[in-house]
């Protein structure tokens, strides 16, 4: 069965054609790869292909279908699309626009200042919240003119990565 795999902006069709132990034959977008693949450490794969030795490191993302993948040259976000993912994706289509109305912290940290309150009208570029991590303060600003709908954290709170902090509309 072929799967769709999203790697950064690329979408690839992937299928396992054969496999015996370490030896796997795959088809990626019509290109056949006869590889010798071994998980040598937790999340670390060694691939031999035509004599070349590649190392790939994986970290599982929010779901078992999402990965952060490190190659020697570059780091990618990767997602494996199966029927379930497709269903969720189609169901979410209509809601996508909303994402820019949700402000989440990209890293763990501590809320040091919230210069706005619920109900405030804010203009593009206005600072909504300041989060500190590792002695550095980051200001998060409004991308467009908006209204503050709800503030889910307060000054002094510790936030996790990707934690929702402010809803706008």
């Amino acid at each position: 069965m072929a799967y769709e795999v999203n790697l950064g902006n690329r979408s690839a069709k992937v299928e396992v054609l054969n496999r015996a132990g370490n030896k796997v034959l795959l088809d990626i977008d019509g290109h056949k790869y006869d590889i010798d693949i071994a998980m040598v450490e937790r999340g670390v794969y060694s691939i031999l292909y035509k004599g070349h030795s590649y190392n790939v490191e994986l970290i599982e993302g929010e779901s078992s279908k999402k990965y952060i993948v490190n190659t020697f040259a570059k780091t990618f976000n990767l997602e494996i699309i199966d029927a379930e993912s497709k269903y969720i994706s189609s169901r979410n289509k209509g809601m996508e626009l909303e994402e820019e109305n949700l402000l989440a912290s990209p890293m763990p940290g501590k809320v040091v200042r919230i210069p706005v309150k619920a109900g405030d009208k804010v203009t593009a570029g206005q600072t909504l919240i300041v989060v500190e991590a590792m002695k550095m303060q980051s200001e998060f600003k409004a991308s467009h003119d908006k209204t503050v709908l709800e503030i889910l954290v307060k000054e002094g709170d510790t936030v996790n990565a990707h934690q929702l902090m402010i809803k706008l509309e």
Binding site: V14, N22, M39, E57, G109, A133
Partner: protein, 502 residues
């Protein structure tokens, strides 16, 4: 004789100090905040005491809590590391009062060098060249204008209590002077609660070069040559090396002598660093003195062959310096890269988190001073530096090649790091040719931030690894159906994993 040292710090420097203590047969005492119970320095020390909540000012900056831990553990001495209380004269004085040896200079030297204007005045009196400018704080714009007429533009307005780039303003045109002056004062007040500012001539394309010094209690002072620290981002050093590509033997001797003179002017004791600004035409000026161990001390240790922490403890023990200036030489070349948990593609935003996997570089000519381990969660409260990677080579070219090799071997997953950014620096022409100043990162920004090429084959490898991993996980969930296809390798791996899992 010091028999037990409390290390009033955390992270790599705490571990580094304890390593030298262990080699000297000295017991080490760790102190830790609530966020650091699982931190490496707690595991490494012979003893460990909690000194308060996670925020630094309630723990690592809490003088009374640290003194209390020293008394409970009966430590003879306190090593402050760098940062935190290392340049706090009140802390050094408090140790004196309690009869605990402070591994560092006395409060007088810390105070004198801590105020930039007093330091300038002291250096001028000692005949050490300083950047042309004022030796008094300036209160009004008129005086500022007069000064500028005397030394010429461009100039820098700086806070006397300054640091970290705050309260600093560059003035290139005379009509910017007034507004810059007012803004510098207000920034200084906000940042340090003190709006004193002074004026210095701005050195174009400046090099940041510093000299390591050691001084004992008997008036002996020597230098251990220079470190080149011009590769900086956000006024923070990223890469340091010694010898400096800019240096020549005559200048080295002269600046070294000046550095020793500067240290003697404050009756310095212990290890310290004299920082200079050097112009392209090799004019040099005293910038400031750091009255503690520097982050970049390992490059000096490697090239000169001296353990600086051991020398600090020897001096604190009242021993005379074991070598004279003539005994010291530079052998080969050494480079240090600071590995930060940060995202270079997103304005170097810090990236704390859990280290999921780590492979450290090894082999000839490498040193890795770190403190994180697999499963360790880097706290959000402290500095994002996780490791210092130090390479050595017979020549600068070899030291660079070795650093590239080490960065290639260094794998950290779970948090973003600047490892690939550092690799880019090693490939930058200005760096390999040794032609750089503090504008390096800005100047080479486009090249440094361009991403490396991962062609179709490289991308396909990423896809295959993830896809095979995904299928294997699926098969584990439904074992009866897939087991045969998997081959014995996967089963073996599963079995091996089980042995490892608790």
């Amino acid at each position: 004789m010091i028999k037990k040292v409390l290390v009033a710090n955390r992270g790599e420097i705490a571990v580094r100090v304890m390593r030298s203590c262990r080699e000297m047969g000295i017991r080490s005492v760790a102190v830790f905040s609530d966020a650091d119970r699982n931190s490496m320095h707690v595991r490494y020390a012979d003893e460990a005491y909690n000194i308060g909540p996670a925020p630094s000012r309630e723990s690592y900056l809490n003088i009374e809590a640290i003194i209390r831990a020293a008394k409970i553990s009966a430590a003879d001495a306190i090593h402050p590391g760098y940062g935190f209380l290392s340049e706090n004269a009140a802390f050094a004085a408090r140790c004196q009062e309690e009869g605990i040896i402070f591994v560092g200079p006395d409060p007088y030297a810390i105070t004198t060098m801590g105020d930039k204007i007093i330091a300038r005045q002291t250096m001028i009196a000692a005949g050490v060249p300083v950047v042309p400018g004022t030796t008094e704080k300036i209160n009004d714009e008129e005086t500022a204008l007069e000064i500028v007429k005397g030394i010429g533009l461009p100039i820098m307005i700086k806070a006397t209590a300054g640091g970290g780039g705050k309260g600093m303003r560059l003035v290139k045109h005379i009509d910017e002077l007034g507004s810059s002056f007012r803004r510098a004062k207000s920034e200084a007040m906000n940042a340090f609660g003190n709006d004193s500012v002074y004026i210095e001539k701005y050195i174009q394309s400046p090099h940041h070069i510093e000299f390591q010094i050691l001084a004992d209690n008997y008036g002996n002072a020597i230098h251990l040559f220079e470190r080149e620290c011009s590769i900086q981002r956000r006024h923070q050093k990223v890469i340091e090396e010694t010898p400096s590509p800019l240096m020549n033997p005559e200048l080295r001797r002269e600046m070294g002598e000046v550095a020793v003179k500067a240290a003697k002017a404050v009756n310095y004791k212990g290890a310290g660093t004299i920082e200079f600004i050097v112009s392209d035409d090799l004019e040099y000026y005293f910038l400031e003195m750091n009255t503690r161990l520097q982050v970049e001390h390992p490059v000096t240790e490697r090239v000169v062959g001296v353990d600086l922490v051991k020398e600090q403890i020897n001096i604190a023990n009242g021993n005379p310096l074991p070598f004279s200036q003539e005994d010291l030489q530079q052998h080969g070349h050494s480079i240090q890269c600071r590995i930060y948990a940060e995202d270079p593609d997103n304005n170097f935003m810090p990236n704390p988190g859990v280290i999921s996997h780590i492979t450290e570089p090894h082999g000839l000519g490498l040193r890795c001073d770190g403190y994180v381990y697999e499963g360790y969660e880097i706290p959000i409260y402290y500095d994002p530096m996780i490791t210092k990677l130090i390479s050595w080579g017979e020549t600068r070219t070899e030291a660079i090649a070795r650093m590239k090799r080490a960065l290639y071997e260094y794998k950290i997953t779970g948090v973003k790091t600047n490892i690939k950014f550092l690799e880019k620096i090693m490939d930058t022409k200005d760096f390999t040719e040794g032609q750089y100043n503090t504008h390096f990162i800005e100047k080479n920004g486009e090249f440094l931030h361009s991403s490396r090429l991962c062609g179709t084959e490289c991308e396909d490898m990423a896809i295959m690894a993830a896809f095979v991993d995904f299928l294997t996980k699926m098969e584990r969930i439904q074992p009866p159906r897939y087991t045969d296809e998997l081959g014995s390798n996967w089963k073996d791996f599963g079995r091996k994993r089980n042995v490892l899992r608790l």
